[in-house]
């Protein structure tokens, strides 16, 4: 297992390095430049030249990359061209919001999908199963930007239970924080519920046809015990593999939810930075998100080796 993990770690380093180059190049391939945004109507060649020199954008790309990545490795991701805020500070302020959104949405998704799959898989093709399967199809078709305004119209405007926008840090008030995060988390969670439910239901139906389940039934074990103790674990591999990939995708999903609910997370900052060609902010956030995703996948892979040693041998 040790060599497997070392190999995976080496891959992680290589992938991260490649990502850093791609991030840097992609950002510089975007049309437009920060000088135009900063200078506006005064965007003359002379002013551009002065500003490019000030920003270090007149240097060769390789030199710009080397300077940036060296600083990044020392924990310095630079500062915004526009408001001079440190990129590290932008990330430090933003990431707790993304993290909280993902954690709450995944708790909700598992809390809904797992019990529902356990119940419906016992009696497939019955009314409850049919309704759940069709319903989750519907959920898959509803992206967060469709769900969010509906949730707001019902729970914020009509009922007044939750705020329509805004964020209270957890350190300030846990209650207010959770109240602020419920609607954005629900908007983000629907797709996950659908995916997790359908995967787990399908695997459970397959597992429940195995001999060891028949044996458990013959022993007279209760249905609840059979489902939780004997059927759930072998059926959950696909679920957790999907969760690992899905959480990465959710990092992107949070961007639109943050925009809609005016949450100042990484996504919100990234969208603003892209619009304003604020290269260092775009590079910094993208790099951190990409590295977080790669590390997450590494952790998921590691957990698989623990749960199922066949993964290492494969």
């Amino acid at each position: 297992m040790g060599s497997y993990l070392i190999k995976r770690f080496a891959q992680l380093v290589v992938v991260t390095f490649v990502i850093s180059i791609l991030v840097f190049l992609l950002v510089h391939l975007l049309p437009g430049n920060p000088a135009s945004v900063i200078l506006g109507a005064n965007d003359t060649p002379h002013n551009q030249a002065v500003l490019f020199k000030q920003l270090g954008l007149n240097k060769p790309l390789v030199e710009q990359y080397t300077t940036w990545i060296t600083s990044a490795l020392h924990g310095n991701l630079g500062e915004s061209y526009l408001d001079h805020e440190s990129v590290g500070h932008i990330i430090a302020t933003g990431y707790p919001i993304d993290l909280e959104l993902i954690v709450i949405s995944q708790i909700i998704a598992f809390a809904v999908a797992i019990p529902l799959a356990l119940v419906t898989s016992r009696r497939p093709n019955r009314p409850l199963d049919n309704v759940s399967t069709t319903g989750t199809f519907g959920l898959l078709a509803l992206p967060p930007f469709v769900i969010a305004p509906i949730l707001v119209a019902i729970f914020a405007v009509a009922l007044g239970w939750f705020p329509a926008t805004g964020f209270t840090p957890i350190t300030q008030s846990l209650g207010s924080n959770l109240r602020d995060m419920i609607l954005p988390s629900i908007a983000l969670t629907f797709g996950s519920i659908a995916v997790y439910y359908r995967l787990l239901r399908s695997d459970l139906i397959s597992t429940l046809q195995q001999d060891f389940i028949t044996m458990a039934r013959a022993k007279g074990l209760s249905s609840t015990r059979i489902m939780w103790r004997h059927a759930f674990r072998p059926s959950s591999f696909s679920l957790f593999a999907a969760a690992g990939v899905n959480i990465g995708a959710l990092i992107a999903g949070t961007f639109i939810v943050e925009y809609l609910f005016a949450l100042n997370g990484l996504g919100f900052s990234l969208v603003n930075a892209v619009n304003q060609r604020d290269y260092l902010v775009v590079q910094g956030i993208t790099l951190v998100v990409a590295v977080a995703y790669v590390i997450l996948q590494f952790i998921v892979d590691f957990l698989f080796t623990v749960v199922d040693p066949r993964v290492v041998r494969g």
Binding site: L30, P31, G32, N33, S36, V37, I38, L39, G40, A41, N42, D43, T44, P45, N47, V50, L51, L82, D83, H84, E85, T93, F145, A148, P149, V152, A153, A156, V157, G160, P163, A164, T165, G166, F167, I256, Y259, L260, F261, A262, N264, F268, S269, V271, N272, N275, Q276, R277
Partner: protein, 564 residues
């Protein structure tokens, strides 16, 4: 023109550049004065610092006696990039923040004249090339330092040193400070409307400590003379300022605290107001305005009920230097084939006003022009003529990747194709499209521009002197080079007669209707919507007692707002 995700902030960003360019750039091209403006600037009467008891029945005007205390939260369109006038880009939100922590040297009065604000008076010499400003005595910045002529001069030096604000102030050749409260501006030529430039970004004064800190590479918190003191700013989250207990306008501000929350999505911003999350919102979406206009639980003030002089208008800009739009017949055909009534019906929610020029009915500058009416048969005939010589006219209609703008250009594309054009649509990212404007890399493109208190502030956008070849930097984006238009603007800039100035700008408007560099669509809408508790957000009492222009395309003065 939209409220979809990513929409409204994009719009306002774009408007930001344009309005900023117009407003700030205007300071450099001040050309016309007016008896009204000049009379107002010379007013050096003693400041009336005691807040009056206001009583209003109009939306946004306070009802009853003002109440001290409390806090208000405002939902804004987008975040700003900073508080420092020489370096940052202020749009509607920027000016709101600025009116919170700073004061402008001059302000716009309700009658359109320019009146002293932080300045006590501003008077020209006989030739309008030297302006002498007296500052109000006893004004202090939030750090306790005094407002002096030296600080104002230092602000000017910072503006001149910045690529962003250099152009607007470079016609000020030097600034003298004969005493601690007198500033003398020496200009490169006669500038009768010099004061109007000081109502823009270059007219806000910051403390010396802020300039020094910025010059040493720091990003300091704002230090102004304004009614509120900077408390906390988390960009894209909130900006909070607390009451300035030493504010030079005694009795103001009424509120103990004001908070601004950028909520980029318009629908969510409206929902936040409805659910009590904020007390006041800005919106540019006609459908949201239409929704609140008939709801008695809210107060709404919008610019559609009458802009003072020149509103921001939406239009299709045509490139007069690029084929096929360089052909006047083609521009006429494009104008005649656009059914504006139909377009507004689809995109204006029956709320916005159609525009047929720079000015709207009600403005003293408004006059009927020969701008072409919808005439599909006439358009087809013109296209036929062109086809006979050059083949089918093909052109590209550009817009930003905003769902509603894209829908708008699709409708226009159909109308133009009906007339015989071959129109393709191109979406261009926000930051790039501005560069395309400047370098003339477009044929037809959606745009919003020209909102100004003084039409002369728009000189730079229409002048023959700012036309550049394609690919070169030119502020006359449409590259319409019309000597008659230039002559009219020069008369407008040089005269001190209001009647002559109006006549000159009516001539400009007519020339634009003849040349057709812009195909007019509608007045760009912007509104403030408040709940019933927030009072007086669209009213302004000037320091010398006169009525100010309380609602300038979404910008208000928070010092005079109170909570019922």
């Amino acid at each position: 023109m939209g409220e979809d995700p990513m929409t409204e902030s994009n719009e306002i960003s774009r408007r930001t550049f344009l309005s900023r360019g117009a407003a700030v750039g205007g300071a450099a091209v001040l050309g016309v004065g007016g008896a009204t403006a000049l009379a107002g600037c010379s007013n050096s009467s003693t400041a009336s610092n005691q807040p009056p008891v206001t009583s209003g029945s109009s939306p946004g005007v306070g009802k009853g006696a003002p109440r001290q205390g409390g806090s208000a939260t405002v939902g804004t369109l987008a975040e700003i990039d900073g508080f420092y006038p020489p370096l940052n880009h202020w749009d509607t939100n920027g000016f709101l923040y600025a009116n919170t922590v700073y004061d402008p040297l001059m302000a716009i009065a309700a009658d359109g004249s320019i009146q002293p604000y932080l300045a006590q008076s501003l008077t020209p010499n006989a030739t309008y090339d030297v302006w002498t400003m007296k500052l109000r005595p006893g004004v202090t910045f939030h750090d306790g330092s005094a407002l002096t002529s030296t600080v104002v001069k230092s602000n000017f030096a910072a503006l001149l040193a910045s690529p962003l604000t250099k152009v607007p102030v470079e016609e000020i050749t030097s600034v003298d400070t004969p005493d601690s409260l007198t500033v003398v501006y020496n200009l490169s030529g006669p500038r009768p409307t010099f004061p109007s430039g000081l109502t823009t970004q270059v007219g806000y004064v910051v403390a010396q400590a802020m300039i020094d800190a910025t010059n040493s590479g720091q990003t300091p918190n704002p230090i102004g003379t304004g009614p509120f003191v900077y408390s906390q700013w988390q960009p894209n989250n909130f900006f909070t300022a607390t009451k300035n207990p030493h504010y030079w306008r005694g009795g103001y501000p009424y509120l103990d605290q004001i908070t601004y929350k950028p909520i980029p999505d318009g629908t969510q911003r409206a929902a936040t107001l409805q659910s009590g999350g904020v007390d006041l919102i800005l919106t540019t979406d006609p459908s949201i305005m239409s929704q609140f206009a008939t709801n008695s639980a809210y107060q709404m003030v919008d610019n559609l009920k009458g802009d003072l002089i020149e509103p921001t208008v939406a239009f299709i800009m045509l490139n007069c230097a690029a084929s096929p739009t360089s052909d006047l017949g083609i521009r006429q055909a494009l104008a005649k084939s656009m059914d504006r009534a139909q377009i507004l019906k689809i995109f204006g929610s029956n709320y916005t006003k159609p525009a047929s020029g720079l000015f709207l009915p009600g403005s003293p500058y408004y006059s009927e022009t020969s701008y072409p009416a919808y005439d599909l048969a006439g358009a087809k005939a013109l296209v036929k003529q062109y086809k006979a010589q050059h083949g089918t006219p093909a052109l590209q209609l550009s817009t930003i990747p905003d769902p509603r703008d894209v829908q708008l250009v699709q409708v226009i594309q159909q109308m133009w194709n009906q007339a015989g054009f071959d129109v393709s649509i191109k979406t261009v990212e926000q930051a790039t499209i501005i560069t395309d404007f400047i370098t003339g890399q477009f044929e037809a493109v959606t745009s919003y521009q020209f909102g100004a208190i003084d039409p002369n502030l728009n000189y730079v956008w229409f002048s023959t002197t700012t036309v550049a070849p394609l690919g070169k930097i030119g502020l006359n984006f449409a590259r319409n080079s019309d000597p008659q238009l230039e002559a009219a603007m020069r008369i407008g800039r040089s005269t001190t007669s209001l009647a002559q100035r109006i006549k000159a700008w009516q001539a400009v408007n007519e020339r634009l209707a003849v040349d057709l560099p812009y195909l007019w669509l509608e007045q760009f809408p912007i509104a403030l919507v408040g709940d019933q508790r927030i009072q007086n957000f669209a009213a302004l009492q000037l320091p010398d007692g006169g009525k100010g222009y309380g609602f300038d395309e979404g910008v208000f003065f928070p010092s005079q707002v109170w909570m019922a």
